[in-house]
């Protein structure tokens, strides 16, 4: 026995010594090619790269780097827009007609000239296809029947766009910075169009190249998309015909990597240049390392939990208010979302016109108890929360569970897959839902509308805003303020309306807004000029170079 034990010890120590030797051995660094940017990025949400159809966050980044639009957000001040394809624009006195003048000699990646005709076609195509993002354009009164009249080329470099109401120009221009307004190469697209049999659901005899465009490319951006392979990679190459500042690197590859720790290892080893889905602990590990940097930018996504007003306890105004005092914002901010978000309590994300940074609530159990007593729920009540099984929502749900318990509210967490909780939420059968809301377009109206407008609160309601999903019968003055802001010509006055609205909504709405997402990326210090933009469609890569 003694003998065999000794032998074991000997084997173990020999093994340990061997391990030490190999650990100390000089390490050969892997490297990505000098002319290629490689990003590790969870791109499993991409289901199409057709800008007329795509509405996913990762896709927004791909199309932003490979297509151009008439206008784009001003990177220096995101409450303003600047021209991209458009050299200049004017708004008619009645506020209904926008006339855009294109820059001269624009070309697509294919070499075809880019004219106002292509712009008009892109609008027509998006409206007629009527896919997920089409409402961005149809909200201006465009329909399949009138789009060729309302969005048309008056000559090769002039495009006019007529809207149905005298909207705030800031609203119209902000919406035109969205992916759906990307300009596609009419010639290339129609070469790949497939004939369709018109039916009651789809009235046109062509698919406008949609099937091909799901994986194809017909744009004019700094990079051309060469290939998208689902759950594998997106491969882009510099577009030699790009009219703007030439892209510095020849290729950009987004490599699908789901795991934060995997991304961190690959970044540390030099197999990727940028890690895009780092969780707080991996981010922290990277921050101290030589040769690695990190960057962050607040994004237009806010995380909240909402109280279904169909639940009789949750419908009591005192309970709604009490809930807002039963969240440990400080603890959540300091631990759970450290580095990936910051506490935010109003419905407009920082960066958008009129966003308010007020934080009226903090954890106050005594106050909450008082409110619950007033509501006749001194002993608390039981309630469920649907939680998708990802971080940070799971952690936040658990934190809320503990703080609610302090006031006697028994919260049971129902974990589920994302699509599962969402299906339930859309059917309005939840008690409490926790999740995120990303602005559909970079304008305050996107959030204002979904949080404060609910024209028909019945189950058959057509407008399924977040207010509807939580069966919140929005007070008329709030909805009216929201709608009024949409028509306010003066941007400063418009901002003031939203600021007031946010304060009121924070007080009475069944939405407990917890934080605004910050997007972070760890990257190799070899990269120069790597930045995250203020929105998902402004994460540009053509300015990035490598040492």
């Amino acid at each position: 026995m003694m003998n065999s034990l000794n032998r074991r010890v000997r084997i173990l120590s020999a093994g340990a010594a061997l391990a030490l030797i190999t650990l100390a051995a000089p390490q050969a660094f892997a490297a990505t090619p000098a002319d290629t940017l490689v990003e590790g990025f969870a791109i499993d949400d991409i289901i199409t790269i057709d800008p007329g159809e795509a509405f996913e966050l990762s896709t927004a980044e791909v199309t932003a780097n490979s297509y151009s639009k008439l206008v784009g957000l001003d990177p220096a001040d995101t409450s303003k827009v600047v021209g991209d394809l458009a050299e200049s624009w004017t708004v008619s006195d009645d506020g209904m007609t926008y006339t855009f003048k294109l820059k001269p000699d624009l070309k697509f990646a294919s070499g075809n000239p880019l004219t106002a005709e292509d712009v008009a076609f892109s609008f027509e195509r998006a409206v007629k296809l009527d896919k997920s993002p089409a409402f961005l354009l149809t909200q201006f009164g465009l329909t399949g029947d009138n789009v060729t009249e309302k969005a048309k080329a008056t000559d090769a470099t002039t495009f006019t766009f007529t809207v149905d109401k005298a909207y705030a120009p800031s609203f119209v221009l902000n919406v035109l910075t969205a992916t759906v307004a990307s300009v596609v190469d009419k010639k290339v697209v129609m070469e790949h169009a497939k004939p369709m049999t018109p039916s009651a659901e789809y009235k046109y005899d062509t698919d406008f190249g949609n099937e091909w465009m799901k994986t194809g490319y017909a744009g004019s951006g700094p990079y051309k998309t060469m290939a998208w392979r689902a759950n594998e990679a997106v491969i882009m190459e510099a577009n030699p015909n790009y009219y703007g500042e030439k892209p510095k690197l020849k290729r950009v590859i987004y490599r699908h990597m789901k795991e934060s720790s995997g991304q961190r290892l690959a970044l540390e080893n030099g197999d990727i240049d940028v890690a895009r889905n780092l969780e707080p602990n991996d981010l922290k590990a990277i921050e101290g390392k030589d040769g690695l940097s990190s960057t962050s930018a607040p994004k237009g996504t806010i995380y909240y939990f909402s109280l279904n007003q169909k639940n009789e306890n949750l419908a009591k105004p005192e309970v709604v208010e009490a809930m807002k005092y039963l969240v440990d914002y400080d603890a959540i901010g300091a631990t759970l979302i450290k580095g990936i978000g910051e506490i935010h309590q109003t419905f407009l994300p920082k960066g958008q016109l009129g966003a308010s940074d007020e934080k009226p609530y903090k954890l106050d159990v005594a106050k909450a108890k008082e409110l619950l007593e007033k509501a006749g729920l001194k002993d608390g009540f039981s309630v469920t929360m649907d939680v998708r099984n990802t971080q940070p929502v799971t952690g936040i749900a658990e934190s809320v569970q503990q703080t609610l318990a302090q006031a006697g509210i028994k919260l049971s967490i129902i974990p589920g897959d994302g699509k599962q909780t969402l299906t339930k939420y859309r059917a309005r059968t939840h008690d409490i839902y926790i999740g995120q809301w990303g602005s559909d377009y970079f304008d305050p109206n996107s959030n204002a509308e979904t949080f404060t407008v609910n024209p028909d609160n019945s189950d058959e309601g057509k407008s399924k805003t977040l207010a509807w999903r939580n069966a919140w019968d929005v007070p008329k003055e709030l909805s009216d303020a929201s709608k009024g802001a949409l028509l306010e010509k003066d941007a400063a006055k418009r901002a003031a309306i939203y600021q007031d609205l946010q304060k009121k909504v924070a007080a009475v709405s069944p939405f407990v807004i917890v934080f605004q997402q910050t997007e972070v990326a760890g990257y190799s210090s070899k990269l120069k000029g790597y930045k995250l933009g203020p929105s998902f469609d402004t994460n540009f890569v053509h300015t990035v170079s490598k040492d």
């Binding site: 289901i47 509405f55 759950n231 491969i235 720790s261 699509k419 407008s463 399924k464």
Partner: protein, 355 residues
């Protein structure tokens, strides 16, 4: 007498031919019911999971009217029995449709992801068998010794430690610290432009094309996840080998062989193992078939674009076309491997032949 003889002979003959017929028939019935069962189960799961498949197509943020239109197009508003009828009809005509997630025909997707999984599973099984069998033999021969204990512990760890933990740990050690292996995916991105796969088995493709650097790179990518899966099957194979060998070593022919004065090595590796090999074939085949379903966790950690990830992702998004296609492929492969191991069984064990 003679009359009786001939009738008996014909009866025997008839009964033999009808028993072959019966066997074929039984086999066909098994296959058909298995497939119908598969169809029913996948359909049932697809409809009871509380996920709206229309959401998978249009994405999380689509407005309500678009979701509704897609539901209509998918036939999701039809009664369930009609939906099932269409589902079976399409599957029987070999039309698995188009994956809503990737927008490709399902068969095309599977042709892309399955070789990745199969290559990984093959490396894993080779690894598992190559190390598992000798370890099992060793453990059986030195039963109760320290070697036996070590093999048992190694096997137990392989069996019980969560593979994602082991995966990450091995990545930290062999990739991050030692830099012996490559990561992530199947190939370095530099080969994205220079290498065109033929069959999708990168090791094979690169050899055929004489691209040694690609082969080496593919090898460096596959070795860690392959070894990890291999470790898992090693645990199983070594345990089974040990118990089969123990059984054989107690047989009388071993005593006879020893009495004849044959060397111990010869007895163990030629006589005992040869007989233990017969049931072992089934064990290895089953573990291979198990790996072919794709290991979701391994594929997630190693960013390996394989079948497990594909099916899981599709299932979570209620992409039933893809799930059905994937399940049918896995099912067919499973049945094929079982058949193959049966055939091997027959060649290795003469007794099964005469029966």
């Amino acid at each position: 007498m003679t009359l009786n003889d001939t009738t008996a002979a014909t009866r025997r003959k008839r009964s033999r031919s009808s028993s072959t017929g019966k066997a074929v028939l039984r086999f066909l019935v098994t296959v058909v019911t298995t497939f119908l069962g598969l169809l029913a189960v996948t359909f049932f799961i697809g409809r009871v999971i509380p996920i709206d498949p229309a959401l998978a197509i249009v994405g999380d943020r689509a407005p309500a009217h678009v979701v509704e239109r897609v539901r209509e197009q998918l036939g999701l508003n039809l009664p369930l029995y009609q939906q099932f009828y269409f589902y079976v009809r399409d599957a029987l005509t070999g039309n698995f449709g188009t994956s809503v997630l990737t927008t490709n025909p399902v068969m095309e997707d599977i042709r892309r992801v399955f070789p990745a999984t199969m290559e990984l599973a093959t490396v894993g099984t080779v690894f598992g068998a190559l190390f598992g069998i000798p370890l099992g033999v060793l453990a059986a021969v030195k039963r109760g010794s320290i070697a036996d204990q070590i093999v048992r512990v190694v096997g137990l760890i392989g069996y019980s430690v969560p593979i994602f933990w082991l995966g990450l740990l091995s990545l930290v050690l062999f990739y991050a610290k030692l830099r012996w292996v490559a990561y992530p995916g199947r190939l370095d991105i530099v080969y994205e432009y220079t290498f065109t796969p033929i069959t999708g088995f990168f090791l094979f493709d690169s050899l055929v094309q004489g691209q040694w650097d690609v082969f080496w790179d593919a090898f460096r990518h596959i070795i860690l996840p392959g070894a990890l899966l291999g470790y898992f099957s090693l645990a199983y194979i070594s345990r089974m080998t040990r118990s089969f060998m123990l059984n054989e070593l107690q047989q009388e022919y071993i005593v006879a062989a020893r009495a004849k004065g044959l060397s111990e090595t010869r007895i163990i590796w030629f006589h005992a193992l040869r007989n233990a090999a017969v049931p072992l074939i089934t064990v290895i085949a089953l573990s291979y078939a198990g790996l072919l379903e794709g290991s979701v966790l391994t594929e997630t950690i190693f960013s390996w674009p394989g079948l497990g990830l594909y099916i899981t992702n599709s299932l979570q998004n209620a992409d039933m076309n893809a799930v059905l296609g994937g399940t049918i492929i896995v099912g067919s492969v499973f049945i094929a491997i079982n058949l193959l191991s049966d055939l091997l069984y027959r060649t290795l064990d003469p007794r099964t032949r005469s029966r």
